[in-house]
């Protein structure tokens, strides 16, 4: 099956937050009471009950007194996902055939290593200490439907489709660079920006923590090799040299 992706265009977003509401509705997530922080942005961060939120970036310059950027913040559905890599519980985090990073709360053991493995600070934990995050509406897309956020978006700021066609669409709209086209093996959430990504609150070069990569590539295979090697060397010594007998050749 062709890989699917979201194409997120902040320039098209009007900050209506219909996607936040649709997401909560489909995923049956309850609302949370927040306080006014002097911004229309709400809630202030992702929570176990908020898989997707619009980040409001307010900026002003000499030529433009008020520039308002709206960016969907959510799981980026990395092809090479740090959360899956570091997760010790089989089946707790997994890739769907569409390329979404989905989860199974029953398999989650609540260790929160995925929080450390994620380059985007996405995984949250619910009150039962189980992972909770955007799963690209894996239940909907498995049936050929769009994710709830994309379905609800009135302007096309969140579009969903085959990943290749999303890339073509972005290039057709005149964007040279697509955020996430190649990062982490290719993200399942592609972004097009008119300014450097960090202006929109995005990391410039997202990557899995180096310690996790080193652990995965070097330490993990070494555990088997080390254990097996030590046993093998011991046996070899037993055959080649043999045990220390008390009869002779001892201390003096």
């Amino acid at each position: 099956m062709a890989k699917k992706a979201l194409l997120i265009s902040p320039e098209l977003c009007i900050g209506c937050r219909g996607c936040q509401t649709a997401c909560k509705s489909w995923n049956q997530l309850s609302g949370t009471k927040t306080t006014n922080r002097g911004s229309y942005e709400n809630p202030p961060d992702l929570t176990p009950d908020l898989y997707n939120r619009i980040r409001y970036v307010e900026m002003s310059s000499e030529t433009n007194i008020m520039r308002w950027l709206f960016v969907s913040q959510r799981c980026m559905h990395c092809d090479d996902a740090g959360c899956i890599k570091i997760c010790p519980a089989p089946g707790a985090l997994f890739k769907t055939k569409e390329g979404a990073v989905a989860f199974n709360k029953e398999k989650c053991i609540g260790c929160k290593l995925c929080v450390a493995g994620c380059p985007f600070d996405v995984p949250r934990y619910d009150e039962k200490d189980k992972i909770s995050k955007c799963h690209l509406c894996s239940d909907r897309i498995a049936e050929g439907l769009s994710p709830a956020c994309a379905k609800a978006c009135p302007t096309g700021a969140i579009a969903y489709g085959d990943r290749d066609s999303m890339i073509n669409r972005a290039k057709g709209a005149g964007y040279q660079k697509i955020y996430g086209e190649t990062d982490l093996g290719g993200l399942g959430a592609l972004y097009v920006f008119k300014d450097p990504p960090k202006v929109y609150g995005m990391i410039e070069k997202p990557a899995i923590p180096e310690t996790v990569v080193f652990w995965h590539k070097v330490l993990k295979p070494l555990t088997y090799i080390g254990l097996g090697g030590a046993v093998a060397v011991s046996l070899l010594h037993y055959v080649a040299v043999g045990p220390k007998k008390d009869e002779g050749g001892e201390e003096k």
Binding site: P88, A89, G110, K112, T211, K220, T223, L227, H237, V241
Partner: protein, 200 residues
């Protein structure tokens, strides 16, 4: 009847068994987490249970490791020129004719092995506790995750040698872990300084 001398008391023996069994359980479950060994569900039920066993097994291991301080640390730190001689001769393990310097209650290899176990035992216990008790604190968890696995790697290399040297390679050694005693003649050959110190 063969004259016996006591090398380990009941507490040493019990504590060593607690340490070794907890280490074995931690290793098996650790491999389970590392390589997603779902076959282990027949042993632990599911990965949630395995995590509970791994965490609390770690507590047992840590407490047991603490008590080893009283059994082995003073002896392990009493290194002398005889220990250098032992290292030069490779502990006498590479030739039947090798003559090694006289050894105390612990030989050089045992001393170094204990210090190794202590250093990486403390590292693996402390990093494990951080992963367990400070979940989501990214920098600490990443550093601990690395140290936990690094220590684990070194330990799974060292432990097979330790088991081999305590059983097959040195006949008569394993009984210390069961009875705590060894024949005087055996001790004279392997731990002559210790035997002398006891006045035999």
């Amino acid at each position: 009847m063969t004259q016996m001398v006591r090398k380990a008391n009941a507490f040493d023996i019990l504590n060593h068994w607690v340490l070794s069994i907890s280490f074995l359980v931690l290793t098996i479950s650790g491999f389970g987490f590392l390589f997603h060994l779902e076959q282990l569900n027949s042993l632990f039920g599911n990965f949630n249970n395995m995590k509970v066993v791994h965490n609390w097994g770690g507590v047992v291991f840590s407490v047991s490791l603490f008590f080893t301080l009283f059994s082995y640390l003073p002896e392990a730190l009493s290194l002398s020129s005889d220990d250098i001689g032992w290292i030069v001769k490779g502990g006498g393990y590479f030739s039947k004719k090798a003559v090694i310097p006289p050894q105390g209650k612990l030989n050089t290899g045992q001393k170094l092995y204990y210090l190794f176990t202590l250093i990486f035992g403390i590292t693996i216990a402390a990093s494990g506790l951080i992963i367990w008790l400070l979940p989501g604190v990214r920098t600490w968890v990443l550093l601990s995750h690395l140290l936990h696995n690094l220590s684990f790697n070194l330990m799974v290399i060292a432990i097979p040698f330790h088991i081999y040297l305590g059983t097959l390679a040195n006949p008569g050694t394993f009984r210390i872990m069961v009875y705590g005693t060894v024949p005087l003649e055996w001790a004279k050959k392997r731990h002559s300084k210790w035997v002398q110190k006891m006045g035999f």
